[in-house]
């Protein structure tokens, strides 16, 4: 099962958390984790616990903020939302990520032709 799933590169989880919060508005940790799993078409199966290290890191950088609230089914949970600074960072990171994936895609394509 592990082989068919994607391992997360360092820092990509942070980016996905930011994007999720930017797109969906305030969410609790479980909601963010589920959303990422769903969006990836269940390609990424998180150890959902790891999301909390990412959340505390983002919060310390001032990219997200949090407060305790009540969930739709009346459970107390901590809700995270993206800050202005976080949105700026997200834009930068997303642009960087796109450039990187384009370049990597191109490099891999070259590799395919010479190998033949």
């Amino acid at each position: 099962m592990g082989e068919s799933r994607l391992d997360l590169l360092q820092g990509t989880l942070d980016l996905m958390v930011l994007q999720t919060l930017a797109a969906m508005g305030p969410r609790h940790g479980y909601g963010i984790a589920r959303r990422i799993e769903q969006l990836s078409g269940e390609q990424i199966l998180l150890n959902q616990g790891t999301i909390y290290a990412s959340l505390v890191r983002l919060q310390q950088r001032g990219w997200i903020s949090s407060e305790w609230g009540t969930s739709e089914n009346n459970r107390k949970a901590r809700f995270y939302s993206i800050t202005k600074k976080g949105r700026k960072q997200l834009a930068e990171d997303a642009a960087y990520w796109e450039r990187l994936s384009t370049v990597i895609g191109r490099v891999l394509a070259t590799h395919g032709t010479t190998d033949r």
């Binding site: 609790h28 589920r34 909390y52 290290a53």
Partner: protein, 881 residues
């Protein structure tokens, strides 16, 4: 940058609030799992399965917590906290070791911090004046002339001030402190007040602003102008209870009214800077025109003009000084002035630099010995704990982690030692700062300051690394098997280990040897200084300042002197009494003194230190008359002028001839030489005596008067009877202090005593530590070899034989250390040669004494474990494993 800082702050806060954040996280994770369960149930799973799936998807709870902690806090701080907890637990388990280690470290670090503070105060810290490095000390080259030889006349002061281009301004003061003593009346008992006469611009040039009131105005230094006085801060607090209203009030000094212009700031201690070990109560502005005929009475201090350097100023002074007039009315009296310019700081503390550096080296060695000692103790301890470490490393603790653990223990010990040392240092510095009688500059401002705290931290860290690294690397550098094998009970110690410990002890003994030799040489020099023939007998004699109210009339003075001395001599217990205007090693002045009829080159006119004394003074001081006679009351104001000379003066003026009966020129007048006395160490105990002359108080005018009495009793016992006799004759006699002559000599040798005392204390500490080191190593090796010794005893070795073996091992180590130390001392001897007096750095007696002392201490240190070894019971040891 600010983001990084903020993150660090948040991480620190997270570290501090770890428990709270953990609880918060647990709540959050619990909520997470509940939400997941809700979802799963909604998707149709049974409650149990729903919970199981939720937990699987969450992953390890503990792992998640650990990740969270790493992300939010400071992992290395967490590790440090663990290490510290381990270390303090380990040290608490071994309380004896920890206490000894902390005590040793405390002594070593305390000594270092105390000496650092002394060095910092005297050598490093700038003088408490504005822009002190622009201030220049200007005096004549030091010679036999005492204070007069290094000072200048008032006319020279005016001319130099006007002609020079190098200085923004030049100020001056009168260095003959005792001659500006005043008697304060009108406020309770008449009392003596120590004053110094300064030029009106003194405070402005030094950049000292009075704490209250104002500095002197030009008006206050004009003849007939308002008489003003500035109080020193301690005097103001002592005498006027710190009352600010005193400013502007009159005080009566020597019968004349002065207005208190202000109070000097507490940070400005004139004595500490210019006259170490002297107390100054008041500052009096020089009334310049009254001083024209006083002769050489001023020393100069200049403030360099902007952009001018010391060499440039010196070059200008070399040109100007030879043309300055001693007395502007007599330009033909060429004074032949020269000037030596020194940075004021150099003048104040330059001569002490060498001694202080030696002192610093001594404490540095102490610290090294302490570190070596602790290394050894720690080695013994880590050896005993090697199984614990082997086990930890077998369980996966990294080598770095083990070294770090050991270093943490060292650091913990060093911090505790530093705290203790800081306490010692604070006690020492406070004690030294209160010793007003040590003639070292700036000592009163000695304290533990920020620099000293920094130094404490530095020494603590350096020593922790020094003594912690060796055992740390030894421990972690060995492979597991070796450790487990080597530390198996009953095994002889590994050879490598043994050699390392032996090497440490040898170096410790060598360091102690160097210290002892140095201290021995200094001590011997000090004893030599105490043995110096001073030319007088300081014991059983004391002096008291007398208020001589003669109205400037010589015949009245003669009568008064006769009455005072007659009545004092009649007191029980008094053997001899006499008066002099100044005392040797206290203050001095010089006059021109030449053989009549002799021609001298310009600037080579001889001079001599001068004392104006009464008949009986020579006896009271215990001086020795070599030829001729003492003064008599018959040497009256209108009789023939007479003078007594010392042997140095006789040799200089009448070499190879009998001086008695010859006519000498004393300044401008003639006097017949009536006697010759043995040389008196007038200006310093250690310097050779120069020419000295004694004029009768009946004929020459004294500057002040000291009554010297020689008694069969303790001088203190006489204080009250002498005082009441003086008061009976002169009710205005101030309540002066009774000074034993010995105290004056002690004051003169106090810097040397200070250094000898400190270096000897350090050497004693070094010796104690070295013996502890020897004891530790030998005792440890006996413990380790119990079984081997037991077997030897069982096989028939005598107890004596075992004892001898242990002793010979001890002596082997000690001797190796002594030989290395002795060689090092000989090599380093030249470094302290300049501090020695009448002692060569290779002094055989000192070397032999040191060797004997160290060997006997080693014998004692080795004897205790040797005795223990010989008493090992073979049966018990063999059975114990």
């Amino acid at each position: 940058m600010s983001g990084g800082l903020r993150r660090l702050r948040q991480r620190l806060r997270a570290f501090a609030r770890g428990a709270e954040l953990d609880r918060d996280l647990e709540d959050e994770m619990a909520a997470h799992v509940e939400l997941a369960i809700d979802d799963n149930i909604r998707a149709g799973l049974a409650p149990d399965e729903a919970r199981r799936q939720a937990l699987i998807r969450f992953g390890g709870l503990e792992q998640a917590k650990e990740q969270h902690r790493d992300a939010r806090g400071l992992p290395w701080l967490e590790v440090l906290r663990q290490d510290l907890r381990h270390a303090s637990r380990a040290l608490r388990r071994d309380r004896g070791f920890a206490l000894v280690a902390i005590l040793i470290l405390g002594l070593g670090i305390g000594a270092n911090v105390a000496v650092f503070s002394v060095v910092n105060t005297i050598l490093v810290r700038p003088l408490p004046l504005r822009d002190p490095h622009r201030l220049v000390w200007i005096t004549g080259p030091p010679g036999a002339g005492g204070l007069s030889g290094i000072s200048y006349s008032l006319d020279a002061y005016d001319q130099f001030r006007a002609r020079n281009r190098s200085f923004a301004d030049v100020t001056a003061y009168v260095p003959f402190f005792g001659s500006s003593d005043y008697k304060m009346t009108g406020r309770g008992e008449p009392q003596p007040v120590a004053g110094v006469i300064v030029a009106a611009n003194f405070f402005d040039v030094l950049g000292v602003s009075p704490a209250l009131g104002h500095a002197f105005t030009p008006e206050e230094s004009r003849t007939g102008g308002r008489r003003a006085v500035l109080l020193s801060h301690p005097f103001w607090e002592r005498q006027f209870a710190g009352d600010p209203a005193i400013v502007g009030q009159p005080v009566v000094l020597n019968g004349e009214s002065y207005t208190v212009a202000g109070v000097a700031p507490s940070a400005f201690d004139f004595g500490a800077v210019f006259a170490p070990g002297t107390r100054i109560d008041i500052f009096v502005p020089a009334v310049l025109d009254d001083m024209r005929e006083w002769g050489n009475t001023l020393v100069f201090i200049g403030r360099l003009a902007p952009g001018v350097g010391l060499p440039q100023a010196q070059a200008e002074a070399d040109l100007l000084f030879p043309h300055l007039d001693f007395n502007a009315k007599h330009p033909d009296w060429n004074a032949g002035y020269k000037a030596r310019l020194l940075d004021l700081k150099d003048h104040v503390s330059g001569t002490l630099r060498h001694s202080l550096l030696v002192l610093w080296c001594a404490v540095g060695m102490i610290l090294l010995i302490v570190c070596v000692n602790l290394s050894n103790l720690l080695l013994a301890r880590t050896a005993a704990r090697s199984r614990e470490f082997a086990l930890r490393s077998a369980l996966g603790a990294g080598r770095g982690r083990l070294v770090r653990q050991l270093l943490t223990e060292s650091l913990l010990l060093a911090s505790a030692g530093a705290a203790l040392g800081l306490g010692f240092a604070a006690a020492i510095t406070t004690c030294l700062a209160r010793q007003g009688s040590i003639a070292l500059p700036l000592l009163s401002s000695l304290r533990i300051d920020g620099a000293a705290l920094g130094w404490t931290l530095l020494t603590a860290v350096i020593s922790a690394v020094l003594f912690g690294l060796v055992p740390g690397f030894r421990m972690s550098g060995r492979n597991l098997q070796e450790v487990l094998k080597d530390s198996g009970p009953g095994m002889s110690e590994g050879r490598r280990h043994d050699r390392l410990r032996a090497g440490l002890v040898v170096s410790e003994v060598a360091l102690a040897c160097v210290l002892l030799v140095g201290a021995g040489l200094l001590l011997r020099s000090f004893l030599r200084v105490l043995e110096v023939d001073l030319g007088f007998e300081p014991d059983r004699a004391a002096a008291i300042k007398v208020d001589l109210d003669d109205g400037g009339n010589a015949s009245r003075r003669a009568a008064l002197l006769q009455e005072v001395l007659g009545r004092v001599r009649a007191l029980p217990g008094i053997e001899a009494a006499g008066m002099s205007d100044m005392l040797p090693l206290d203050r001095n002045r010089s006059w021109g003194f030449a053989a009549k009829g002799q021609q001298y080159e310009r600037g080579k006119y001889p001079d001599a230190l001068l004392q104006v004394v009464t008949p009986g003074y020579l006896d009271a001081m215990g001086m020795r008359l070599r030829a001729g006679r003492d003064l008599r009351w018959e040497d009256s104001p209108d009789g023939e002028k007479v003078v007594i000379v010392n042997e140095a003066a006789a040799r200089r003026l009448w070499p190879g001839e009998d001086p008695v009966g010859r006519i000498a020129m004393v300044n401008a007048g003639e006097a017949r030489v009536i006697g010759v006395v043995a040389d008196v160490r007038e200006t310093s105990v250690e310097g050779e005596a120069g020419p000295e002359i004694y004029l009768p108080m009946t004929q020459a005018r004294p500057v002040g008067a000291e009554l010297v009495v020689r008694t069969r009793l303790a001088p203190g016992a006489l204080a009250s009877t002498v005082m009441s006799t003086l008061k009976a004759i002169n009710p205005a006699q101030p309540a002066a202090e009774f000074r034993p002559i010995r105290a004056i000599v002690d004051h003169a040798v106090s810097p040397r005593r200070f250094f000898v005392l400190l270096v000897s204390a350090f050497a004693a500490l070094g010796l104690a530590l070295a013996s502890l080191g020897i004891y530790g190593v030998i005792s440890y090796s006996v413990t380790r070899r119990r079984q081997e010794i037991g077997i030897r005893l069982a096989l028939g070795a005598t107890a004596r034989r075992v004892q001898l073996d242990v002793m010979s091992r001890t002596l082997e180590l000690a001797l190796a250390g002594i030989v290395i130390g002795a060689i090092a001392s000989l090599a380093l001897g030249r470094g302290i040669a300049a501090l020695l007096f009448d002692t060569v750095p290779t002094d055989p007696a000192t070397l032999v004494t040191t060797v004997l002392l160290l060997s006997s201490v080693a014998v004692v240190a080795g004897y205790i474990p040797a005795r223990r070894a010989s008493r090992i019971s073979p049966m018990v040891t063999l059975r114990s494993d």
